[in-house]
């Protein structure tokens, strides 16, 4: 099938092929006669062996041999010599088949099956493996078999690690050897085997080891992938609280946020509390997180993971604080204290327990007891035109609310680890620069960019300060810019990374963030709702830094190149969102919006929905296709057969309570579709700027 040259066969060749084909057919027919009559005579076995020699992929042939072995073993009973001789014959047949085709699954499995019986010597196996690996050092069948044999013979991981060292010295380009090395080393590190502790010492040695490979042949990828794994091991931060809303040290007017409450009864005294961690965690509940307030507040809180999947883990967790309505001092500030991980139970997806408690606090200003929630004047249509936005004049008290980035506090022991690891990364950065000074190497540049980002993450964690190193970002952005030119096929990959770093830079501190804050013209609004974060026209291809955006209620992301809004589900306060003029290709890409219960205004006009036959988010949203739908199929099916094209629109919109929606400029948005939307969203007041009855 693979690697045969395209040549029209000559008549002679065609004839010879037919003759050979007929010969194989005849052997197959003979074999089937024996197989279907359960005949396991010497003659039958010889026919089978001949068949497998001609065609080692003939699975039924291998099955037959197992039946024959079982048959003969039964006859041999416990005569050890007979048993050995029967099984040795099998090993010979396998060896000869492997000589024809050393990638035959059937052959390798048969050998394993024989060895698993426990009667055969394993001495020859490693010798055989060495032979095969000389023929092809990347043969994964051989490597798998090697893992099988070393387990059978209880060969210690350290010895196998030395084997990978030998193989790598023989040829740096042996990805299979590097891979095996990473598997063995992970185990040795995890079990803290003697000589492989502490982790930092091992990582330093491994960085030195891989450096040989990288400097010898910088264009070969094998070493670089291993290097990336080492980097990942070095940067492992404990999952921490990175931001929250309300932010630490802020003061919040509860009545400003009452519209966000899920339940109308306690509407004027409910406040969302959002916690955002450095990675997805589980186990957030009222025993692992305590929230205490001077005022009377229900402390039995229900925490929800904000996640589009059903894993139960999330970076962002949400709860609602409900303050009691008993008569109190009019408009007083009450302190709310939040303690995370006082008790065990918070875990990361890798299974690590959070053992470092952290604390934060903010004050809330409660309305005097008689304040009723006032829906306000009839809500206008939001018009996203630039003239409706003016540079903000934020009051100092509001500043605290937009700075949701938490100060990270790391305790003594961990601090030392962070510092040691930061030093390792700093050394690697120097070596990388050295290599790049000698040659322009794509993967070297990419690694340097990643190293710089990693260093930034580690050092800011141990410093615990917002003073982000702006210079680092500039260099990283330049590297990605270079890479877009150096490696055009992967342009979009570098663009995505560029966007993320760019956002990190622009949202790094208050001063920079304020550049993007605008006031929407509606000054009659009761609250901060009119403050908009305007990130339009920045050539962003991806969104990131959501931990710094938890406060956002109005967001303009129009006129970018955004294809995916992964992460946007964390912006739980979001009410108005503009995604017009981007690259959204399907409704399934809008899955994160289903979790934004406060979303009222959405503009997805002028995207590419309906223009693509292939949906790249098909399995990343809840639906019957991935056996994760929570919508009622009966409702959907009854609507008519053409609804099959609208299944993802149905999934996204039926859970939302939109007041205003724009879809024009998408190929799917014809009259029929708009009618469908009106049926689906009865509370909607504006569709494509038209007021609905």
């Amino acid at each position: 099938m693979h690697g045969r040259p395209r040549k029209a066969p000559t008549e002679e060749e065609q004839e010879a092929s037919v003759v050979k084909g007929a010969k194989l057919r005849s052997i197959q027919a003979k074999f089937f006669q024996f197989h279907h009559t359960n005949t396991y005579t010497k003659e039958a076995l010889e026919v089978n062996a001949k068949l497998l020699e001609m065609n080692p992929e003939f699975i039924t042939g291998w099955n037959y041999r197992k039946l024959a072995v079982q048959y003969h073993l039964e006859a041999a009973q416990s005569d050890e010599d007979s048993i050995k001789s029967i099984l040795d014959e099998e090993l010979k047949v396998v060896e000869s088949a492997l000589m024809t085709n050393f990638k035959s699954y059937g052959a390798w499995h048969h050998r394993k099956w024989v060895l698993n019986m426990g009667h055969s010597s394993t001495d020859r196996e490693l010798f055989l493996l060495k032979k095969f690996q000389k023929l092809d050092a990347r043969n994964f069948h051989a490597w798998n078999y090697r893992r099988f044999v070393t387990a059978l013979k209880n060969i210690p991981d350290e010895e196998e690690l030395q084997y990978t060292t030998d193989m790598i010295y023989e040829n740096f380009s042996n990805y299979s050897a590097w891979h095996n090395r990473s598997v063995l080393l992970s185990r040795l590190l995890k079990e803290e085997v003697e000589g492989y502790y502490p982790k930092e010492k091992v990582l330093t040695e491994e960085f030195e080891f891989v450096r040989n490979a990288l400097f010898t042949d910088p264009d070969d990828q094998s070493g670089w992938f291993y290097h990336l794994w080492l980097l990942d091991q070095t940067v492992k931060l404990e999952h921490l609280l990175v931001s929250s809303w309300p932010p630490n040290g802020s003061n919040v007017n509860v009545s400003d946020y009452c519209a966000l409450s899920p339940s109308l009864s306690s509407i004027s005294r409910t406040l969302p509390l959002i916690l955002c961690f450095s990675e997805a965690v589980g186990g957030i509940n009222s025993s692992t997180v305590s929230v205490v307030c001077e005022s009377n507040m229900d402390s039995n809180l229900i925490w929800t993971p904000i996640s589009v999947d059903k894993s139960g883990l999330a970076r962002t967790w949400l709860t609602y604080l409900t303050f009691s309505s008993e008569p109190m001092h009019p408009s007083r500030n009450y302190l709310v204290k939040v303690s995370i991980a006082n008790s065990e139970g918070i875990i990361s997806s890798a299974g690590f327990c959070c053992s470092n408690p952290s604390h934060m606090a903010f004050t809330v200003c409660l309305p005097s007891s008689n304040t009723e929630f006032d829906e306000g004047p009839d809500i206008e249509r939001i018009d996203w035109s630039e003239e409706n936005f003016s540079s903000n004049q934020l009051h100092s008290e509001n500043l605290g609310l937009i700075n949701s980035f938490n100060e990270l506090t790391i305790s003594g022991d961990n601090k030392k680890t962070y510092e040691t690891n930061a030093k390792i990364i700093a050394d690697e950065i120097d070596y990388c620069r050295e290599l790049l000074s000698e040659m322009d190497c794509k993967i070297g540049k990419l690694t340097l960019a990643r190293l710089l980002l990693a260093y930034d993450a580690l050092s800011s964690a141990s410093r615990g300060v917002q003073d982000q190193n702006m210079f680092q970002y500039k260099e990283i952005l330049e590297l990605y810019h270079d890479l877009m030119k150096l490696d055009p096929p992967h342009f979009q990959y570098y663009k995505d990374q560029y966007s993320l770093v760019f956002l990190k830079q622009e949202l790094a501190n208050e001063e920079s963030l304020l550049k993007y804050c605008y006031q929407y013209r509606d000054s009659t609004s009761l609250s901060n709702n009119s403050l908009c974060l305007c990130l339009r026209g920045l050539s962003l291809s991806q969104i990131g830094c959501i931990e710094r955006l938890l406060w956002v209620q109005m967001l303009d992301l129009s006129n970018n190149g955004i294809r995916s809004i992964e992460g946007l589900e964390s912006l739980q306060l979001l009410c108005c969102l503009n995604l017009s003029n981007n690259k959204i290709c399907s409704f399934s890409a809008l899955e994160p919006l289903r979790l934004l219960k406060s979303l009222k205004v959405l503009d997805i006009s002028h995207n590419e929905i309906g223009a693509h036959p292939i949906d790249t988010r098909r399995y990343l949203c809840a639906s019957p296709l991935s056996h994760t739908s929570d919508w009622k199929r009966e409702e959907f099916v009854v609507s008519g057969p053409e609804m099959t094209i609208y299944w993802d629109a149905f999934s996204i919109f039926s859970g939302l309570n939109l007041r205003q929606l724009s879809v024009t400029g998408n190929p799917i948005a014809d009259k029929k579709f708009k009618l469908f939307l009106c049926k689906l969203l009865p509370a909607m007041k504006w569709l494509d700027d038209e007021k609905l009855r």
Partner: protein, 313 residues
């Protein structure tokens, strides 16, 4: 850029169905059921499924079914999960899944799940994540996923996840594009893609694109048209396909055509076969090449077939 020689490829496929006597053909007899799936799905994507005799195909296929409920690669061959999936997929193309005794087939498949959640390919116990994928896709198409322990099946697949973000055939085995497709598809269909580090795996996968525009299956290997499916569909399922140069890949696939005699080969100027013809055409469908039916990246069947099964009556 070149064009897809649709008529030639259709002719090629219909010819190999008939010509069976060359050695190359005989040596593939044991996987003929897979071959039927590759040939027929290609024809459907090209809009030419009606050129085959449906009844003839189905009648031959049903003869490949073993008394255990599983299907063999051809008549008289032992049953195995791999051919069972192909049979189900072909019946799905023809909208004839009800020709099966669904409980019988699904019991055969479910019976091959092991305690650790893995699947054996057949009664002889070879374990491989390919079989996890095949079992899950089969049962999903038959609407009988509840016959297996899905959680354990997913956990086993996750245990085969490697440090480079990819997946191997068993725990500890090297990442390989074919295995990655199998694991990602199985996780996709069971709503478990959150176990995949999409950025890490996406980068590993996009680095399969080499200078010629073709894709290889693992680092430092040669490009091959069949990876246009394994790598591409994986990238699509995790929404990272924009990280490769689609135009260059389309050109590579088109360069692998035999424009005179029809068919697509693994690399330009190599011998063609139905396997690579299918993967080339399926890859072009995923790349939104004009005039082709869209194919579903997980089930490897046309989207209209999959939608009919999951959104239909």
């Amino acid at each position: 850029m070149g064009e897809l020689a649709v008529e030639k490829h259709v002719k090629f496929i219909l010819t190999i169905e008939k010509e069976k006597d060359s050695f190359e053909s005989v040596v593939m007899e044991h996987i003929r059921l897979n071959g039927a799936y590759w040939a027929l799905t290609t024809l459907d994507i090209l809009g030419k499924l009606n050129t085959v005799d449906q009844d003839e195909v189905v009648s031959w296929m049903m003869q490949c079914q073993h008394e255990s409920g599983g299907f063999g690669g051809n008549i008289g061959h032992d049953p195995h999960l791999l051919y069972t999936l192909s049979a189900i997929q072909v019946l799905a193309l023809f909208d004839k899944i009800d020709a099966l005794d669904i409980d019988k087939v699904s019991n055969y498949i479910a019976g091959l799940q092991n305690n650790d959640g893995s699947f054996s390919g057949d009664m002889w116990g070879e374990i491989d994540t390919r079989f996890s994928c095949v079992a899950i896709l089969s049962l999903a198409l038959l609407k009988r996923l509840d016959k297996i322990n899905v959680e354990k099946a997913v956990n086993y697949i996750v245990s085969c996840k490697n440090l480079d973000g990819g997946f191997g055939c068993t725990p500890g085995a090297e990442s390989h594009a074919g295995q990655i497709f199998c694991c990602v598809a199985a996780l996709a269909v069971t709503g478990s893609l959150h176990h995949v580090d999409k950025d890490l795996l996406g980068w590993w996968l996009c680095e399969r694109q080499v200078k010629s525009g073709g894709l290889n299956g693992r680092p430092e290997k040669l490009p091959d048209v069949c990876y246009s499916w394994w790598v591409l569909s994986s990238l699509i399922m995790i929404d990272r396909v924009h990280w490769i140069d689609k135009e260059k890949l389309i050109k590579f696939i088109l360069d692998c055509q035999d424009k005179e005699n029809g068919g697509i080969s693994d690399q330009p100027e190599d011998a063609v076969d139905v396997f690579h013809t299918y993967f080339g055409v399926a890859g072009l469908s995923l790349l939104e090449y004009p005039g082709l039916k869209a194919i579903d990246p997980a089930y490897a069947l046309p989207v209209d077939v999959v939608n009919r099964i999951f959104f239909g009556r």
